[in-house]
């Protein structure tokens, strides 16, 4: 009853092509941004900010990156962890070599560096598809992690192989890394940074380049006939996807954990991000956020649920239950809606438009 486009007439194609053509959606987005920017920092505890919201935003960024490659361009990749590691170590080398370089610039440059690596490991995609490509990207995963472990140069010869983010601020005293960084500043920085990059991703996927990715994904032969060059479409998807994933890796190392070793970006991380986009919705920017929220929040929720409802359980029992319920929920969601939470949301909106009538 409240979610209708009735009476909202579009008089130009420009208005029709807006990301949120319906007024209610625009208001909802404004509301969410207002809550994220003003309400959340005031009411959220340090625990909430540091262990839930910050990783959620970092994972969202990685999920957007992988979604561009897998969801939009149809190239399955298991190298996400490796590319995140690239971003993290590139950023570390950059900021230790040039301490005066602004940290945002460092993040963007390390993203660009990762994009180059992405192009390199994307070359096999010109010849192989599907599962075979997934296996080829595994090579990237293992090779990159091995490289960062093997050569001390990447960690500036630290004995433990761990890199610690030096203190860096976005402006003045607003430190986002190092011991002086406050959770609120970290969080607000991430909200703005991720929102801007998500908007750019959305713009890309609804422009020419996004259409060429989707064309390659859906029917590569027909795409070629239309004049899309598969090489350019696929490699640009690898580049832009890796750009996002690299930045996510740098944010992980610098803003979220503060210090990290290469093993943090092992194959498990790749699977985690892949699950996010499968559960959230392939080929959807919103789905990247929903999937990240699902994967980050659910374990925490499951962990805290027994004590919240007053049931006493041993810690290891909770741990095992968490795994089982988590797995069951993933299977449940995939059966109910194989296209992910984003599609569920879409269906919900369509139902809401007709409510209270069935059709």
């Amino acid at each position: 009853m409240f979610y209708r486009e009735a009476g909202q007439f579009k008089t130009s194609y420009g208005a029709d092509q807006a990301i949120f053509p319906i007024l209610q959606d625009k208001l909802a987005l404004a509301g969410i941004m207002a809550v994220a920017l003003f309400v959340a920092p005031m009411i959220a505890s340090t625990y909430w900010l540091e262990t839930i919201l910050v990783p959620f935003l970092v994972f969202s960024m990685a999920a957007i990156g992988l979604n561009i490659l897998t969801g939009y361009c149809g190239q399955v990749s298991l190298g996400t962890g490796g590319f995140m590691a690239c971003g993290a170590f590139f950023a570390y080398k950059l900021t230790t070599a040039f301490p005066d370089l602004h940290i945002v610039l460092v993040f963007l440059l390390s993203g660009l560096g990762t994009a180059m690596v992405g192009i390199l490991f994307g070359i096999p995609s010109l010849r192989i598809k599907g599962f075979y490509l997934a296996v080829a990207t595994l090579a990237a995963q293992f090779f990159l992690i091995w490289m960062f472990n093997k050569f001390g140069w990447w960690t500036n010869y630290s004995a433990s192989g761990v890199i610690s983010a030096p203190p860096r601020s976005v402006a003045g005293d607003l430190f986002i890394t190092g011991p002086l960084a406050s959770p609120i500043v970290k969080y607000l920085f991430l909200v703005v940074f991720v929102a801007v990059l998500a908007l750019i991703a959305k713009n890309l996927v609804r422009s020419r380049i996004g259409r060429s990715w989707m064309a390659i994904r859906d029917m590569d032969i027909a795409a070629e006939i239309i004049g899309i060059r598969p090489m350019i479409a696929k490699l640009s998807a690898f580049a832009i996807s890796s750009f996002y994933i690299g930045i996510a890796g740098a944010l992980w190392a610098f803003v979220y954990t503060g210090s990290v070793e290469a093993l943090a970006f092992e194959i498990n991380r790749s699977f985690q991000v892949l699950f996010m986009i499968i559960i959230g919705g392939l080929g959807s920017i919103l789905g990247s956020f929903l999937g990240a929220a699902f994967i980050v929040l659910l374990p925490i929720l499951l962990n805290n649920l027994p004590s919240l409802i007053g049931v006493q359980m041993s810690v290891d029992l909770i741990g095992h239950l968490e795994f089982m319920i988590f797995g069951a929920l993933i299977i449940f969601f995939l059966i109910v809606e194989p296209h992910g939470l984003a599609r569920l949301w879409q269906i919900g909106k369509e139902k809401l438009r007709l409510w209270p009538f069935p059709y």
Binding site: S12, Y13, G14, Q17, I200, N203, L204, R206, S207, R208, I209, G210, R211, S212, M214, A215, R217, D218, M219, I221, A222, A223, E224, I225, I226, G227, I228, R229, S236, G283
Partner: protein, 284 residues
């Protein structure tokens, strides 16, 4: 916009009518747009095409017919660069070459539809048609990331072209529907729309009416004729419905077992004994 208008509105079919009495539908075309000479194509030991030569003249509707497995689709694949023939040459717009490349063919105005619909299933009808405009869009990555300003202007320009095609093919109501959900007949129409969005000089249609009922076939025939007349697009089509082929095409080439059996106007082909034998079989 101005660029699109000039290339779309150039009726070249008028020239033919004057010479003949109006009752006679035979149109005359002189300028050769594409010709294939002695094309031979084989896959390993299988000879798909053997020494095929024919031409397609500017502005005509050219039908390629033949029994199943005759090499019709292979011929189209050779023309737009999917298959590379072992022998022979292809002359397109005066340029002689051994083989085409899909990207080059698209750039030079060869569009096509497929026998089994090859749409982008995950995208809406409008987005599918917009992909046909990809080669005409010029904004770089920076503007696309920004979307507003020049990129939005460009998007809207091309949207307008697509909307005209949507009007033309009467598919306004399914603009925003994902094509995977559309019935077969409409999917075929969307595929034609996508090909038209490329503003092709030469349009290759691979069985545009396969699996359609009479009404749908009539609609599709009307669209094919309208495209040919209004946009002056040269059309080469493969079709199994002989009624349709004889009615709408100007010239017909007949293939069988990778060889050319006959070439000429529908009437000539209809009377050709080799063609009748190929279709009906000969008693030995």
């Amino acid at each position: 916009m101005s660029s699109t208008d000039t290339s779309m509105a150039a009726p070249e079919s008028d020239q033919a009518l004057g010479a003949q009495p109006p009752a006679e539908i035979a149109r005359r075309f002189d300028e050769v747009l594409l010709s294939v000479d002695e094309i031979s194509l084989s896959f390993g030991g299988v000879k798909a095409l053997t020494g095929i030569s024919f031409d397609i003249r500017k502005g005509e509707i050219r039908a390629i017919i033949g029994p199943n497995g005759a090499g019709k689709t292979s011929m189209l694949n050779v023309i737009n660069g999917f298959y590379h023939p072992q022998e022979g040459t292809i002359t397109y717009q005066g340029e002689v070459r051994k083989q085409m490349r899909p990207h080059r063919a698209a750039k030079q105005g060869i569009a096509r539809t497929f026998q089994n619909v090859a749409l982008f299933k995950g995208m809406s009808t409008l987005d599918n048609i917009m992909t046909g405009r990809l080669l005409k869009m010029k904004r770089n990555l920076f503007w696309q990331a920004l979307y507003w300003g020049p990129n939005l202007k460009e998007e809207i320009e091309h949207r307008e072209v697509c909307e005209r095609i949507i009007d033309f093919l009467e598919i306004q109501s399914i603009r925003k529907t994902p094509v995977g959900r559309l019935p077969y007949g409409l999917q075929k129409r969307v595929e034609l729309a996508r090909a038209l969005a490329m503003e092709p000089t030469l349009l290759l249609l691979d069985e545009p009416m396969a699996g359609m009922n009479v009404e749908e076939k009539e609609d599709m025939s009307r669209f094919v004729l309208d495209v040919n007349e209004e946009f002056g697009t040269t059309i080469a089509l493969i079709e199994h419905d002989m009624g349709v082929v004889m009615d709408i095409s100007d010239r017909v080439v007949v293939l069988d077992y990778g060889r050319k059996l006959a070439d000429g106007t529908p009437d000539e082909v209809r009377g050709n004994q080799a063609v009748i034998d190929a279709y009906l079989g000969v008693s030995h």
